[in-house]
Each structure stands twice: as structure tokens, then as C-alpha cells.
């Protein structure tokens, strides 16, 4: 469990984060989304006990991050953005060192289990210096998972992984996230969309939006948009679809696809599909157009910039 209240951090005269208040419950994967320099890393460093906030406080796994920092650190697994590894050690030596620092009684078993989880058991005796970027990332994750922490904090965990590794990594995080609290930061929006139960969008040190990825989308897009594609010419179809009750804003794309909107609650999709087929068209594609988090993000940050002006 993470509960942050009014977290503020100043670096000299520069305010990195301002009055951040949020919560992450057990069994929840919460995504921290924002451009570089938004304050994601700063927030994570505060939550992991690396540095204290200038103002505000937070509770992590039931302990105060300032007065009970050591207790918090015992219960948190942290993967910083630059994966902290000792190149001259073997993977096993490194994880054993971390297990010793955490006073884990059955260190060897836990190291093996963590290596198993990130599928690095075959490279246990290899030197970290010889590992690829993706493998180093996995060793870093093993380090964060080693002591089976209640709270897992991952700073940009998928940077530098190839697409196959990203999929693997997401599966691991999703499995782990079932019984723990996971807070991860990313600036890849599709990742947040796939991984997170809830997304906090942060920009210039402030939370600009907080919701599930689905709700964020529907909140921002008032009307639902649908794309329709038929075989052959579709110019005449525009007027047919436009005539149907509840259909709005029919547009013809240059490639022949049709796009239209309807108000949520008045689903016109069955009527449109029927009308298309009854008019003799061969229906090829018929699906909702979702605003990607990229677009949501742009919309939110631009709104804020406009307000600030």
C-alpha cells in the first residue's frame, strides 16, 4: 500500500514535484505517466526512502517514509531508472549480496527463486559485465523482487528491452502485481494502458489526471467513434449511414473508410451494420476508434498549458 499526501520536493529553487497526493492499494498496478522531467523519478526516490520530501509525507506498506525509513526500505523493492549493478560480480554474487544486506535467512533459495522469475537462472554464474542491456534489466528486476516485497517500485522498467522482452517483462509484472502493490513509471503510453489498473498522469510535478485507462479515454472522448470499411466504392454509403438516427459527423477517409460518432447510451452500431449490408455492401471492417493514451496525454497537457497561460 502506498499513500502519499501533499508530497513536494524542491531542488534548490526548482520545484520538482508539487503537492502530490495519491494512493495505490494492494493488488493494484498503478502507472506513473509523464514526459521526461515531470517528477516521476523524484517521487519514486521519495517513496523508496532514498531522499526525504521537502514538504508532505507518505506511508508505504504502513510505515512513514521519514520517521520509519528503514522499515519502509525493508518492505519495498525498487528498480531505479539506471539499473544499479556491479559489473565485476556474477549475477548470483550480486543477488546474494543484496540478500545479505536485507538479512534474508534463506538467501540462496530466494536468489534462485528470483532468477527463476526473471528467467535468468542459466546466467547465474555469468559476470554482469558480460550481460546484454535486457538481461541487466532483468537482473535489476530480480534484485527488486528478491525479498518478496509488499510494494514494488519500478522506474521506467522496460527501457532498453526488445519487444519480446517487453512482453515477457509485462507478464512478470502482471503476475507479481496480483498480490502486491506495484507503482511503475513510464513514458510509453501503450504500456501503461496494458499493464496498469490505474494511471496517474503527471506533468511538471503535478498530477493532471488520475483514473483507469478506460475511464480516462471515455472521460475525454464524449462521443464514441466507429470506423467502417466496405469492399469497393463507399461514396454513396455516406448518405445512407448519415440518415440513421443517432449517427453524427459521418466522415469519408481518403482511403474509402467511413468514420462516424454516436452518443454513448444510444448505440447505433447494429442499425448501421444492418443498413450497410441491406444496401448491398460487403462489410470488411467495423470497429470502435479509441483515443490512444498518446492523444489523451497531449490533450491533458495542452489543456494545462493553456490554463497556465
Amino acid at each position: 500500500m502506498i499513500r502519499a499526501t501533499g508530497l513536494t520536493k524542491d531542488y534548490g529553487s526548482r520545484r520538482a514535484i508539487e503537492n502530490l497526493t495519491f494512493e495505490a492499494k494492494q493488488g493494484e498496478v498503478v502507472g506513473f505517466l509523464g514526459p521526461n522531467g515531470a517528477g516521476k523519478t523524484t517521487t519514486m526516490r521519495i517513496l523508496t526512502g532514498y531522499m526525504p520530501p521537502t514538504y508532505g509525507t507518505a506511508q508505504v506498506a504502513g510505515f512513514d517514509i521519514i520517521s520509519e525509513s528503514i522499515e519502509v526500505r525493508r518492505r519495498v523493492g525498487y528498480l531505479p531508472e539506471t539499473v544499479p549493478l556491479y559489473p565485476e560480480m556474477t549475477v548470483f554474487e550480486y543477488l546474494k549480496f543484496m540478500a545479505d544486506l536485507r538479512h534474508l535467512p534463506n538467501g540462496d533459495d530466494l536468489v534462485d527463486a528470483a532468477l527463476d522469475l526473471v528467467q535468468m537462472e542459466k546466467r547465474a554464474d555469468g559476470y554482469i559485465a558480460n550481460l546484454s542491456k535486457g538481461m541487466r534489466q532483468r537482473v535489476g528486476l530480480a534484485q527488486a523482487l528478491l525479498h518478496r516485497p509488499e510494494v514494488l517500485i519500478l522506474d521506467e522498467p522496460t527501457i532498453g528491452l526488445d519487444p519480446a522482452q517487453v512482453v515477457e517483462f509485462r507478464n512478470t509484472v502482471r503476475d507479481v502485481g496480483k498480490e502486491r502493490t506495484v507503482l511503475l513509471s513510464t513514458h510509453i503510453l501503450s504500456e501503461a494502458q496494458q499493464l496498469c489498473d490505474r494511471v496517474l498522469i503527471i506533468n511538471k510535478g503535478k498530477i493532471v489526471a488520475e483514473d483507469t485507462p478506460e475511464n480516462l479515454q471515455s472521460r475525454l472522448v464524449g462521443a464514441k467513434q466507429v470506423l467502417l470499411r466496405v469492399k469497393g466504392e463507399s461514396d454513396d454509403l455516406v448518405s445512407i449511414v448519415a440518415k440513421i438516427d443517432g449517427v453524427q459527423n459521418v466522415k469519408l477517409h481518403p482511403d474509402g473508410a467511413l468514420e462516424f460518432q454516436f452518443e454513448p447510451g444510444a448505440d447505433v452500431r447494429p442499425a448501421v451494420a444492418r443498413a450497410t449490408i441491406e444496401a448491398g455492401y460487403d462489410l470488411l471492417e467495423f470497429h470502435p476508434i479509441e483515443l490512444s493514451l498518446e492523444e489523451i496525454f497531449l490533450q491533458l497537457t495542452q489543456d494545462n498549458a493553456r490554463k497556465a497561460r
Binding site: 526512502g49 532514498y50 522499515e71 525498487y78 539506471t82 549493478l85 556491479y86 543484496m98 544486506l101 538479512h103
Partner: protein, 248 residues
């Protein structure tokens, strides 16, 4: 206590994979070895004129000079490198105290230096065989205690400097500067200033004077207490620097 040991054990092992540590060890043992051979050879040739046998100071004396450079080389990366590599963030988010980290780092370097010093124990054994009636055991203990206390101070100052900087070379030269101050420079003003109480303070702080008197076999309480306090001060400052780093 356990955390200190975990940190120092890693550090100690690291020295055996580090070229700088090997160079420092080689330089130390080579210097002491050459010095030893030359002095023994020279004394043997001069024995017609003099009947004083060389003492343990021919081993420990040059050791101190070499350590003046070896200690900064061994401590420069201790915390500076952790900062540069980002592993400090890892260590500072594990449940260990800042003081334990600094103490563990220092202890690792100290144990490595003790290993080098232990390797020089061959010389008193040889010296004992070469001279009649053998070397003074009391002076030998006093001289080894002197070098062990001295290296404790050198390494503590080096550890503190390493925590101030994230650049190893900055840490190296800063350490060297402080060591030179305490080893050579601090008593120089006593030659021109006539104020006795001021000179007493400088003489008290001078590491070289204390070291030389212990090398000759005379130990006072303050000869032991002063280096230990200086070591404690260095390690304390190192821990404070880490703490300050968190707040920045």
C-alpha cells in the same frame, strides 16, 4: 554490525579484482623490498665502522610514505564510484544506515591494507635472523601499531573524501591534499611562529611526529587516542556527507 560486515566483505573482495589495488600492493611491497635490501647491503658493508644493526624502522618508515599515495588510490572509488554508477541509490534504499555503509566501506579498505601490512611481516623475521641479538620485540610491536593506526586515519580521510565527490580523481587529490597537510605541512609553522601554546597544538595534530616516536618504540596514550579520534571524525564526516546527499 552485520551490514558493516556485508559491505566490507564485498569491498575487500573487490580489491582482488581491481588493477588499482594490485598496483598499490605491488608498489608498496616493491618499495619496502628494495629499501630493505639496499639498507641491509649498505649496513653490512659499513659494519666495520658501525656496530648498530638496522631496526624495524627500515621497513615501517618507507611503508608510511608509500601509503600516503596508496591510501587515496584505494579509497578514491569507495563511495565516489557508487555515486557515478548509480549503485549508491541501491544501497541507500536497502535497510542499512548511512553510517554502516561508510564504516563498511572503510573496513573493507582497512582489511585490504592489513593484508598488505601482514605481507611485510617477513622482513622482521629476516631481520631477526640477520642481527644479533635479534630485533627489539617491543619496538616491533610499537612500530606495527603505529603503521596500523596511521593507515586507519589515511583510509578514513580517503573514505570521507570519496563521499564528498562523485569523481574518483577529485577524491584522490583531495585525500592526498589532506594527508599531506597532516603528514608534512602542519608542523611547518612551528619553525617560524614563536607562540608556544599554538605550537603545542600543531605538534599535537602532527601525525608524522607521533608516528616517528612510535617507530622508535615510545608510545603515549595520545599517540593512540589521536589517530583513533581522527579516524572516527573522518568516518563521521563521510556519513554526514551521505546524509546531506539525500537531502539535496
Amino acid at each position: 554490525m552485520r551490514n558493516i560486515w556485508t559491505i566490507s566483505r564485498r569491498e575487500y573482495r573487490h580489491y582482488f579484482t581491481s588493477p588499482i589495488a594490485y598496483i598499490a600492493a605491488l608498489l608498496t611491497l616493491l618499495t619496502v623490498g628494495i629499501y630493505f635490501v639496499v639498507i641491509i647491503y649498505y649496513t653490512a658493508n659499513q659494519s666495520y665502522y658501525s656496530n648498530t644493526a638496522p631496526g624495524i624502522d627500515i621497513v615501517i618508515g618507507p611503508l608510511a610514505t608509500v601509503f600516503l599515495f596508496a591510501a587515496p588510490a584505494l579509497t578514491m572509488r569507495l563511495l565516489a564510484d557508487e555515486q557515478r554508477m548509480g549503485t549508491l541509490e541501491l544501497l541507500l534504499t536497502t535497510p542499512i544506515k548511512d553510517g554502516e555503509l561508510v564504516l563498511g566501506k572503510w573496513l573493507g579498505a582497512f582489511l585490504f591494507m592489513l593484508t598488505i601490512i601482514a605481507a611485510t611481516l617477513i622482513y622482521p623475521i629476516v631481520l631477526n635472523k640477520l642481527t644479533t641479538p635479534g630485533i627489539d620485540q617491543g619496538v616491533m610491536v610499537s612500530a606495527y601499531l603505529a603503521i596500523i593506526l596511521l593507515i586507519a586515519v589515511f583510509l578514513a580521510i580517503g573514505t570521507a573524501m570519496s563521499s564528498f565527490f562523485s569523481n574518483q580523481f577529485a577524491a584522490f587529490f583531495a585525500t592526498l591534499a589532506v594527508l599531506i597537510l597532516f603528514w608534512w605541512l602542519i608542523r611547518l609553522p612551528t619553525f617560524i611562529i614563536q607562540n608556544e601554546s599554538f605550537n603545542n597544538i600543531l605538534n599535537y595534530l602532527d601525525l608524522n611526529g607521533r608516528f616517528n616516536s612510535m617507530l622508535a618504540g615510545s608510545i603515549s596514550i595520545s599517540d593512540v587516542v589521536y589517530p583513533i579520534s581522527l579516524t572516527a571524525l573522518g568516518l563521521f564526516l563521510g556519513a554526514v556527507a551521505i546524509e546531506i546527499r539525500r537531502w539535496r
